[in-house]
């Protein structure tokens, strides 16, 4: 039970950090923030690696494989598309 309490502590504190971090994002960055955060949620791939590569029955492994595929799409696609978007965001050039 104490392990669960410890995890809860971490969870709640991390939530507060999240709220503080994102409190005043300009609207320009709403989409990139969302897709960047979305890519971070693909961290579940770490769990997928353990499930797919660990000891256990076949069903578990194949579920793990599916999880890896899903999470990889999320991670790779998420970070790349965020970068593609941010690349487009430019400040007005002073040449005029």
């Amino acid at each position: 039970m104490s392990a669960l309490i410890f995890s809860l502590f971490i969870f709640v504190l991390a939530c507060f950090i999240g709220f503080e971090l994102i409190s005043k994002v300009p609207p320009t960055l709403h989409t990139p923030l969302m897709s960047g955060a979305n890519a971070i949620s693909g961290i579940t791939i770490v769990g997928a690696l353990i499930v797919a590569g660990g000891v256990g029955g076949d069903l578990g492994k194949y579920l793990g494989l599916a999880a890896i595929i899903f999470a990889s799409i999320n991670v790779v696609g998420g970070f790349m598309v965020t970068d593609r978007m941010l690349e487009m965001f430019k400040k007005k050039e002073d040449d005029k």
């Binding site: 994102i22 971070i40 949620s41 961290i43 579940t44 353990i50 797919a52 790779v76 598309v81 487009m88």
Partner: protein, 473 residues
């Protein structure tokens, strides 16, 4: 990969892994922080991806991992699909893509929990906390999965963008959510009953469908950011299942970020989250709102030539983009018209409502694609004081966000929603295909105002005509 390491290393390996997880967490936090400012955002995204790489590589050394075939196959397949989607998808399809990625993230978390359950030879080996967290993870992950794909279908037009609902749907949804929670408790008490697991999985998947289907297109920014939050919470839950702090922290960060965005979107519509989820706003049945007789309303039409003269001799023009701009893919031609006007010495600004479009920041991304610098995009609070000194406002594909009924008519469903005060400008021009109502399903008195002129037609074609006409002025 731990089997390749000498025994002396193995004794302190778990601690090293945890410490490097902490480093990865720091990268995520720093990355999110840098995503708060346009100048640093790209670096922030880069840092977050480095954090992810650290997390993945370090995990490969976890002693629980003994085989790598499936890992390599999975990462290659998934990575390739993700990369292709990210590179190929048009910027106009960004809301759909975000929804899809979100769905895969949520789905992955559910699969991780399910896989963890399946790995155990006998289910009784999992303690009750393990069972509860597995249940919750499957629940949230599955509903994120199906919910995101329904949102995708709605954005793509496969499923009607209107609110699809029937009486009692909300009660069914709330009831099912409680039922799943009860089932999770029952399953924890009686883990041998696998039927319970299937019911939990099935009902969770179904809740994702039935809770997103009744939400109208205009509320999509709220739904997308809420689903984003869910995918974070799902990852966090998977972390509880595996006892993995990296997952718990990163998931919580994303969950919190998503909730903040959701809250910003709700505020921009002056509605509560509950009202968005259960309100079934934006049905197609609403007929012209509370408006009076149609006979006494007339609109003034304008032509490209007439409009060209008006904007060419204006000193300040504000462009108000909306979802219609995205549909017509008119972002490039808008930029051309603006450049043309700027050359003539006209000051051009863009006024962007926080919920314009189908996801948070939709218009900003669209205009950025057309090379519109972000510092000429003004948000609602910045642009509203400027309308009084504006000569012409070009309203392109926006409707509800400029509807004065939000200020004047307490009976209107959008009453209280903060809007762009375009009616304070000397002239407003509405680019629109017809006089049809917006997603909120209510009439817009702005169209009939004396200072307003309508420019009927497809936004892209209309702007092209305007651009041509400007050459002759």
């Amino acid at each position: 990969m731990s089997q390749f390491l000498p025994d002396s290393v193995l004794t302190w390996l778990p601690d090293v892994i945890q410490l490097l997880y902490l480093v990865a967490t720091a990268f995520f936090i720093r990355g999110l922080k840098l995503l708060n400012s346009p100048q640093t955002a790209r670096r922030g995204n880069m840092l977050a991806s480095i954090g992810m790489l650290i997390g993945i590589v370090v995990t490969l050394f976890d002693q629980q991992i003994v085989s790598f075939e499936l890992i390599i196959i999975g990462v290659l397949i998934g990575g390739l699909i993700g990369a292709i989607l990210a590179k190929k998808v048009a910027m106009t399809a960004m809301p759909e893509l975000v929804a899809v990625f979100n769905g895969f993230g949520g789905g992955a978390s559910a699969l991780v929990a399910w896989g963890e359950l399946a790995r155990y030879e006998s289910i009784s080996a999992i303690d009750s906390t393990g069972m509860i967290t597995i249940g919750l993870s499957v629940f949230i992950g599955s509903l994120t999965f199906t919910g995101s794909f329904i949102a995708f279908g709605k954005l793509k037009g496969f499923i009607s963008g209107n609110a699809i609902t029937f009486p009692g749907l909300n009660i069914i949804n709330i009831g099912s959510m409680f039922a799943v929670l009860v089932l999770i408790v029952l399953y924890t008490i009686n883990p041998a009953n696998t039927t319970l697991f299937w019911v939990i999985l099935g009902v969770s998947l179904l809740i994702g469908v039935t809770s997103v289907i009744p939400i109208g297109g205009a509320d999509m920014p709220v739904v997308i950011s809420l689903l984003n939050s869910y995918s974070g919470i799902a990852a966090s839950m998977a972390g509880f299942v595996l006892g993995n702090n990296l997952l718990i922290v990163s998931g919580a960060l994303v969950g919190a970020a998503g909730l903040i965005l959701t809250n910003i979107m709700c505020k921009a519509m002056n509605r509560s989250l509950a009202n968005v989820i259960f309100g079934s706003f934006g049905g197609d049945g609403a007929s012209g709102g509370s408006g009076g007789a149609d006979g006494d309303k007339s609109v003034r039409e304008t032509s490209a030539e007439d409009l060209a003269i008006q904007v060419a001799y204006a000193s300040k023009v504000v462009i108000v983009p909306g979802y219609g701009l995205a549909v017509a893919q008119a972002q490039h031609i808008v930029k051309e018209v603006a450049a043309n006007l700027e050359e003539r010495g006209v000051q051009v600004k863009y006024g962007v409502h926080p919920v314009a479009g189908r996801m948070p920041g939709h218009m900003n991304v669209l205009l950025a694609e057309a090379d519109v610098p972000y510092d000429v995009l003004y948000d609602m609070d910045q642009i509203n004081p400027e309308f009084a000194s504006t000569d012409v406002v070009l309203i392109i594909g926006a409707n509800d966000v400029v509807n004065p009924m939000a200020k004047t008519s307490p009976g209107s469903p959008i009453y209280g929603m903060p809007i762009l005060d375009v009616d304070e400008a000397k002239r407003t021009i509405v680019f629109k295909r017809s006089l049809s109502v917006g997603y909120a399903g209510i009439d817009n008195p702005l169209f009939y105002a004396e200072k307003n002129q309508m420019f009927f037609g497809d936004a892209k074609k209309s702007l092209q005509a305007l651009n041509e006409a400007l050459k002759d002025v």
